[in-house]
Symmetry: C2
Subunit: 455 residues, 2 copies
């Protein structure tokens, strides 16, 4: 069994961090509950629920996507994802974690082809007109493919983007335009799906029962990953391996159960803010993906029993060491309302040696590497927070590969499902966003919609 | 007087938003206090404190920087800022707000020069070895300038970056390397300053008494802005105009006083989280800049009187409409622990028309623009939050120009200084980050440092 991650939670305990930490007795109760909920989850899964848990095993889908990606890579220079929320964050997370840092910013720069000629990836998760116009200016439409992703097929931002792009493509490429659009939607329903069938676009499916924020390992995330050259088989293998680890029936052995317990208990102890702080530029967007998963899944007005509870931890994304110079002051000295999760990387691809320095002021850096400095800073910060009585724990990744990232994302999804059960809410819906949509439709003059009509 | 911004706070009032809103009486007390503190601030300023308030008037500095920038632009293709925290966030904010969205991602792409040949700007605010190695790979050192920014001249991350870059430059360019480094530091002190004097680098000064997070309008932010083609005179003119508005002695007329009161009162009413949500991709990094300013300034253990208070709102960055599909569910239904500030833009540079759509499902979008959709979404969200009893207010910018952004940043700084006084803390220090630094030095084996020595 290959190690995907280790979780060190000693700084969550009263013995280490003081009165804001948990006693072993305090941990036991949610631990027992979470193991019971794990059983429930397994039963529900075997009854056909929680299809996101089975995404790692979609071998045929992965093969189809790899073939499609290979075909696209033979002629395409730019791959644009049009999607928002769950249709974008997973793509961004995979791309940032697993491709070289300047992958999509450099095509051919100053005449020098600096990277393998994989297409550039753009994930456009906004309708900002200046950004969208700016993007369109940089594209050569003849060599560009647009992947329109919307579970419902009716997401207003994505549909608006799609309509603009479709017209541009038609104008510039005529009937051949259809091979520049690929839709990823519900397998049966939705306006976009119907249109795709009519016009003859390539179609991918988001399996029934897989919600947007749980869809990264479905075609939603897999196509852009494969197109950019990420090994999606390894990604799914890591997730499958993590599936096994997330079925273990002790708190210590099961990182999803442990993470859910630590987060739930922190909330109950008044830590309503949860900070995820990777010490890695590549994992920054994994933090943003997690923030959606956590916020939208757990922020709920009603319990599953229909009681008004207004529950939900607020996730905050940070990144080390950058935010030591931005947020750490608050984490060290502000209210005791936070729990901090570090993401640490054992082994970076590069180390980057800091040269011997004759200037005595900087002598202490001689012989170190940026990788070593990064870890010293993380450890230094972790220790300082612990000394200051601030609960924190660390998830260590051995390295950042498709296998490890697949496992990490899978673990966070299982953790979220279990946390939903601990909080007593439904982590798979998002009823609270309806009112804003209705208002927007009303303001746009759409028939049958009135401002405030959901109240 | 040119309008820089408007602030609409009706959704902060009990009449509009319900019991989580403020009554006029509740607003009066902090209003009176804030106006008294405004007097205090003015007196302190006339006694030589708060030099950041006078940055808009540094005409000679601006002229020097423009000349330097013009010279650099004549031969340079890449300008790299090495800095972290306050030495980076302002640069990123200006660059993202005021340059075209793909400005620095495209030099010459696929043989087509798509933008004016201004240099690309890279702000490297991390020591992530993979990112740093990736950056160095994309640069042509002969045409690159590194701006090393550190107030103290001893920031460990920046010094490490600098040492690596210096050696690379020396190896590849010999003695001519010195013209590829510009330092921006304290005018007198610091190891970096001494080294710059010895080696003969171009030197810029951060005026005495201007802390990192208040330095965006000093050479810290101005040089990279000027180099990228931003009109720094307009930037400073907007700030100067805002200086006048922030001296007005009524709550309604003074946006900094009003903002400080609204935020302070929200905190006192249990809203410990403050969300800044621009509906603009260009202003996203202004949000990140604000998060540092707010967190590091107000997150404090001790009051100015020496009492332990552990105070500090937690700023959260969001962006619309993207985070409607990520965080809004939590904001709508979660705990009543947030106040939300929208940043709205009246007029984007592009509008981007959505084509007439024969597909009836999408007919309601016909005739709208992305800009119009953006504002309908913001309004729809604002109304939904208000209906759900969630206090929020909106800062409207007429458009995103250097003048308006200069004014906005200046306003936030004054707001922070005043909020510091309302909270009874010192918003200009950051004692809490010392412990982490000491631990890091100890872990690196630096002489004279021990883990936990600050406890």
């Amino acid at each position: 069994m290959k190690e995907i991650l280790r979780l060190d939670f000693r700084n969550m305990l009263r013995d280490t961090v003081g009165r804001h930490g948990a006693t072993p007795a305090e941990l036991q109760k949610p631990g027992r509950q979470a193991l019971r909920y794990l059983q429930e989850l397994k039963e529900e899964r075997s009854n056909g629920q929680h299809q996101f848990l089975d995404l790692p095993y979609q071998k045929e889908v992965a093969e189809k996507i790899k073939k499609l990606a290979d075909e696209l890579r033979s002629w395409m220079t730019d791959f644009v994802v049009l999607g928002i929320g769950g249709s974008a964050l997973g793509n961004i997370a995979l791309h940032q974690a697993l491709n070289p840092p300047y992958h999509s910013q450099e095509g051919k720069s100053r005449g020098v082809l600096r990277y393998a000629p994989t297409p550039r990836i753009h994930v456009i998760d906004t309708i900002d007109p200046d950004l969208f116009a700016g993007l369109l200016e940089t594209l050569d439409l003849k060599q560009t493919v647009f992947n329109v992703i919307s579970k419902s097929g009716a997401t207003v931002e994505t549909v608006a983007q799609f309509l603009i792009v479709k017209e541009m493509l038609k104008k510039s490429l005529g009937n051949a335009y259809t091979k520049h659009i690929i839709t990823t939607t519900d397998p049966e329903d939705g306006a976009l799906r119907r249109l795709a069938a009519k016009e003859g676009y390539e179609k991918l499916c988001i399996p029934k029962g897989v919600g947007g924020r749980y869809s990264v390992l479905s075609p939603v995330g897999l196509l852009s990953a494969a197109v950019s050259g990420i090994d999606i088989n390894a990604l799914l293998a890591g997730a499958a391996e993590m599936d096994l680890q997330c079925q273990k029936e002790t708190v210590e052995e099961n990182p999803a159960v442990l993470g859910a317990c630590l987060q739930y208990l922190s909330y109950k102890k008044g830590k309503h803010i949860t900070v995820l702080m990777p010490y890695s530029a590549a994992l920054k967007a994994v933090g943003e993906w997690f923030c959606q998963l956590w916020a939208e899944s757990l922020g709920k007005k009603f319990s599953v029993k229909g009681k008004i509870i207004h529950c939900g931890p607020t996730p905050v994304k940070a990144v080390g060491p950058t935010d030591q110079h931005s947020q750490l002051q608050l984490y060290m000295e502000g209210p005791f309302d936070k729990v901090i999760t570090f993401l640490a990387v054992d082994k970076f691809k590069s180390r980057v040696k800091i040269p011997l320095s004759p200037e005595t002021d900087f002598e202490y850096l001689s012989g170190h590497t940026l990788a070593g400095l990064m870890e010293a800073e993380r450890r230094g910060t972790e220790l300082a927070l612990t000394q200051a009585g601030r609960p924190n724990y660390t998830i260590y990744l051995p390295e950042i590969t498709a296998f490890h990232v697949g496992g990490l994302l899978y673990m966070f999804q299982v953790q979220t499902a279990l946390a939903g059960k601990l909080f007593g809410i439904n982590p798979f819906d998002q009823p609270g966003v309806e009112a804003g949509k209705v208002n927007t439709f009303a303001l746009l003059g759409r028939k049958g919609y009135k401002v405030g009509a959901t109240e």
